[in-house]
């Protein structure tokens, strides 16, 4: 392992976050705070409890998941897309580093950022709603696992995208709808049976549900199933990344 190379890339990526602090940290925190104000305080006060949890509290895990997903994806996608776009990727390809090391560095940095952000949003949530975390360790596991999985996913998008539009396309057209329809703001038990079945094909449901379990000890889907599904996505992303590097897809001609 070329640990110094991993560290060099990781540090460069983290430096990028510091340079873009406003965009990377402040703006997601503000937008999440707005959700708390609107859904938690304004609308939530008129909503009944879900499974014995006040609505404002109920949406906390979903909101954190929402930021975690979008930030993991955009951080990792941008991280690898930008060197491609600028041409500086030549340096990565010509350096004595393996693909595994490149992935570890970029995905590690993106997942770190997303996890930090998730924790900041969690801290913000405490300011707005009463909150208890039943299984803090499981919560952290879900957070990190999700951050890593979707950073991998973002890395794939960043390699696939050959223009800025495509870079935005997947997060905008697929990930955001899936997250909103993934039970971030409601329990899927509230849906009619048909849509409930449809929803079970949405991977985000398992993430949100499992994450919510770690907070409240109850969930739509069994937590073991949730964890299992998260691992399946993780493995799927790893498989695609492995294929990309084996073939040099969009990296080497």
């Amino acid at each position: 392992m070329n640990m110094r190379a991993i560290y060099a890339i990781y540090r460069q990526e983290m430096a990028r976050t510091r340079r873009t602090l406003l965009q990377s940290i402040v703006s997601p925190v503000i937008s999440t705070a707005l959700y708390f104000v609107v859904f938690g305080a304004a609308i939530g006060s008129r909503m009944q409890e879900i499974d014995g949890v006040a609505y404002g509290t109920f949406i906390v895990p979903g909101l954190i998941m929402l930021s975690l997903l979008t930030q993991s994806i955009s951080n990792a996608a941008f991280g690898i897309y930008f060197p491609k776009f600028m041409g500086t990727i030549y340096e990565l390809l010509a350096a004595p580093i393996s693909y595994v090391e490149i992935v570890v560095a970029f995905v590690g940095a993106a997942a770190t950022k997303a996890t930090i952000l998730g924790l900041i949003i969690l801290a913000t949530a405490f300011l707005f709603v009463p909150l208890r975390i039943e299984h803090p360790f499981v919560m952290l596991v879900f957070m990190v696992l999700t951050a890593v999985t979707f950073s991998l996913f973002g890395f794939i998008i960043g390699i696939w995208a050959d223009n800025f539009e495509k870079l935005q396309l997947v997060p905008l057209l697929i990930v955001t709808p899936l997250t909103f329809l993934g039970g971030s703001f409601y329990s899927i038990d509230m849906l009619p049976p048909f849509w409930r079945t449809v929803t079970l094909f949405n991977p985000v449901v398992y993430l949100v549900s499992g994450f919510r379990w770690s907070f409240f000890g109850q969930s739509d889907v069994n937590v073991v199933v949730s964890l299992g599904m998260t691992f399946v996505f993780l493995l799927a992303c790893l498989g695609i990344v492995a294929w990309i590097f084996r073939t040099g897809y969009r990296l080497k001609t």
Binding site: Q12, G87, T253
Partner: protein, 311 residues
């Protein structure tokens, strides 16, 4: 340059892109340790493709490459560790400082930080004053220097300079040549691509000419310079000829298609150029002259000729 184990050995390397375009056709090339090798060729000849393949940026279709005895695919770590690459395009980060980007490059090669070495590299390239500046604030010439500094940050044994002086001002060009000489003195092997022939003349120990994806000539520069010594005398005739008269056969004259011009090639370094005798013989043959014109055949001519035939 025989006897020594070549530091880079390219054997039967070809590259066919997915589009079907054949960028390289079975290239063989050995680069000796410590030499300065200039790869000449017109745009699109395959210079950058060849360099990119050696450095690991582009996959080759066939063939093998060793760098310092290490296969550049199977032992890519050892092979790449020896190489520094200065790309043709000004591809740099924008918001990073010069110091950070150079440190990053060294880190990528797995080397422990060495501020003293980086300082020397930056000072040699007149970049030390700019070390805390963001790259985006630098001029094009300065960015070029940054790219060189990045390539030298990990103390490579072979330095690839891809079109180092394209669009570069005179001062930087001079600095660059100075630097290349310094590196050579330290035993670094240098491979540069260029389509400026003066550059090859000025710098190189050996010159390779690539055209249409094939290496069509590899020669010591001294040998090429001998060819440079040739001069041509163009003799314009009043009346066109259909063939060179037999009495003038010994001069090896070239007759133009329209029959109006005879061309005589001679060696200016030679004891006798044969011009006086030729003129006398022309007169004897009854040919009347309209004009005389001499011109030096340059490396450029040789090059254009070679490349022309290569197509």
């Amino acid at each position: 340059m025989p006897a020594m184990q070549p530091i880079i050995s390219v054997t039967g390397v070809s590259k066919r892109y997915a589009t079907g375009f054949e960028a390289l056709k079975s290239v063989d090339l050995d680069i000796a340790e410590g030499e300065i090798f200039a790869l000449l060729g017109p745009n699109g000849a395959g210079k950058t493709t060849l360099i990119s393949i050696i450095c690991g940026i582009v996959n080759k279709s066939t063939g093998t490459i060793t760098v310092g005895g290490h296969d550049n695919v199977a032992e890519y770590r050892q092979a790449r560790a020896l190489i520094g690459l200065v790309p043709q395009e000004l591809t740099t980060d924008m918001w990073e400082s010069v110091w950070d980007t150079v440190s990053y490059s060294r880190g990528l090669f797995g080397l422990r930080p060495d501020p003293a070495h980086l300082e020397k590299v930056l000072r040699d390239l007149s970049l030390w004053e700019k070390k805390d500046d963001k790259i985006m604030t630098l001029s094009g010439g300065m960015k070029r220097r940054v790219l060189i500094a990045k390539a030298l940050s990990h103390e490579p044994r072979v330095l690839f300079l891809d079109e180092p002086t394209a669009g570069v001002d005179v001062e930087l060009r001079r600095d660059m040549w100075e630097m290349v000489r310094g590196l050579k003195a330290d035993g670094v092997t240098i491979v540069l691509t260029t389509h400026y022939i003066e550059e090859a003349e000025e710098m190189a120990d050996r010159v390779g000419v690539i055209s249409g994806g094939e290496i069509i000539l590899v020669e010591e520069k001294a040998e090429l310079m001998r060819k440079l010594g040739r001069k041509e005398l163009a003799i314009q005739l009043k009346e066109p000829l259909s063939a060179v008269p037999g009495t003038l056969a010994e001069y090896g004259l070239d007759l133009s298609k329209d029959g109006h011009t005879l061309t005589y090639a001679y060696d200016t370094q030679a004891e006798r150029t044969g011009i006086t005798r030729l003129l006398r013989d022309l007169d004897t043959a009854g040919l009347r002259l309209r004009d005389l014109d001499t011109r030096q055949s340059t490396l450029e001519d040789i090059f254009v000729n070679l490349v022309g035939n290569g197509r």
